[in-house]
């Protein structure tokens, strides 16, 4: 039996995968194209269809995420507008860099190395931050940035006063890297807003998702115009991610993001290893490395989304004595820190 031209097994796979990615997206505000596009590539979809479908999926999921975060008051429209304008210009510049690298004949190598290096750097930075008991590094950096009085100054949600020129500059750099690497930029934008500008985590996630909605719409439109979007794939992934995004956003109300930060960092580091493995496998024609790459991506998706749900259950139970809560605490001690006390009256509003 078939549905949308796909076997029921494949439909179930896409819905389930979408659900897990939706949980990550709703909780962290990232993890869309970074996970979907490589998965579709390994499943045998042509590269442009994988990228186009990934972008269309990210657009649909981020619409839902943005609506949820808007409902919670987690979107700063001023920040989103400045970032969107700067990133659009940056993405255009990044594409020109890619064209120049293609002309020079070394685009694939440079892009792969830059991707692996960035994922690893952001992952290590986040892991170090997660293992700290205080927040001096990020506070120091954001306070220094906020102290720079470069006009025009803007006041963001969370009473953060910062230079619009600096926001524009950060957006431009992230945009160039997004255009260069062909990714949404969530994993770069989030740390930049939180650690660089000092924007509260919830506002950074909400604003990031709104920005991804706009860039995702534009990107998928460009690919759809050339017929490079697989509609059945997008429709089934979205059916799962729509529910997952609600769950992820709801869990973010009861679980402190710092409790999961170690897993997030590990996912970035695993992602860098996966991309490196795929690159080496392609260059040296080692098929098993491609399999390792996709196993790492799917494995990280399952483990991190599972950790988010487990942390929510542990918080709801508030005793941490069960087997699964005990398992979560043990593994989280390796990656970051034990669960912190949280307001037990917080709403699990999905």
């Amino acid at each position: 039996m078939e549905l949308l031209g796909m076997s029921l097994l494949l439909v179930g796979f896409f819905v389930g995968f979408g659900l897990l990615i939706g949980i990550l997206f709703g909780f962290f505000g990232m993890g869309g194209s970074f996970l979907v596009t490589p998965a579709l590539l390994v499943m045998g979809y042509p590269s442009r269809v994988a990228v186009g479908s990934g972008l269309a999926f990210v657009f649909g999921t981020s619409v839902i995420g943005a609506l949820r975060h808007r409902d919670h008051g987690h979107v700063d429209y001023k920040l989103a507008v400045i970032m969107t304008v700067a990133m659009t210009l940056g993405i255009e510049a990044g594409k020109r860099v890619v064209d120049a690298l293609h002309a020079a004949g070394n685009a694939d190598l440079v892009i792969s190395v830059a991707y692996v290096g960035l994922l690893a750097t952001v992952g290590l930075f986040t892991l170090r931050d997660a293992r700290r008991t205080d927040a001096t590094t990020s506070v120091d950096l954001s306070e220094r940035v906020q102290a720079l009085e470069i006009p025009p100054m803007v006041t963001l949600r969370g009473d953060v006063r910062v230079s619009a020129s600096i926001i524009f500059g950060i957006g431009l750099v992230v945009g160039v890297l997004s255009g260069l690497l062909g990714v949404g930029g969530g994993f770069l934008l989030m740390p930049a807003m939180m650690y660089g500008l000092g924007v509260p985590a919830a506002i950074a996630v909400g604003t990031d998702i709104l920005q991804i909605t706009i860039s995702g719409a534009f990107g998928s439109f460009v690919y759809a115009r050339d017929g490079f979007v697989a509609i059945p794939v997008v429709a089934t992934l979205l059916a799962g991610s729509a529910l997952g995004a609600r769950i992820g956003a709801g869990v973010s109300n009861i679980v402190d993001e710092d409790d999961i930060k170690g897993y997030f960092a590990t996912m970035l580091l695993v992602g860098s290893v996966a991309v490196a493995a795929k690159r080496v496998g392609t260059v040296y024609d080692i098929g098993v490395l491609n399999t390792v790459s996709i196993a790492l991506i799917f494995g990280a998706t399952i483990v991190v989304s599972g950790a988010i749900l487990l942390a929510a259950v542990c918080q709801l139970r508030d005793d941490n004595s069960g087997f699964w809560c005990h398992l979560f605490l043990c593994t989280n001690l390796i990656t970051a820190r034990p669960l912190q006390p949280r307001d037990t009256n917080a709403r699990f509003d999905v």
Partner: protein, 50 residues
Amino acid sequence: MIIDALSLSPTAQAAGLIGAVLLEAMVLHVGYGVVTNALAPNVKRALGGE
């Protein structure tokens, strides 16, 4: 009036696809909202061990 989607220009088809994804997202958002609002209290109680 029935519109043959394939006879439209690529730009119009792409705009239609974006609209379709947006529509599906909104329908799922509202639909899942109704379901989760109805089930969330019971799920929370069950997960909390009550």
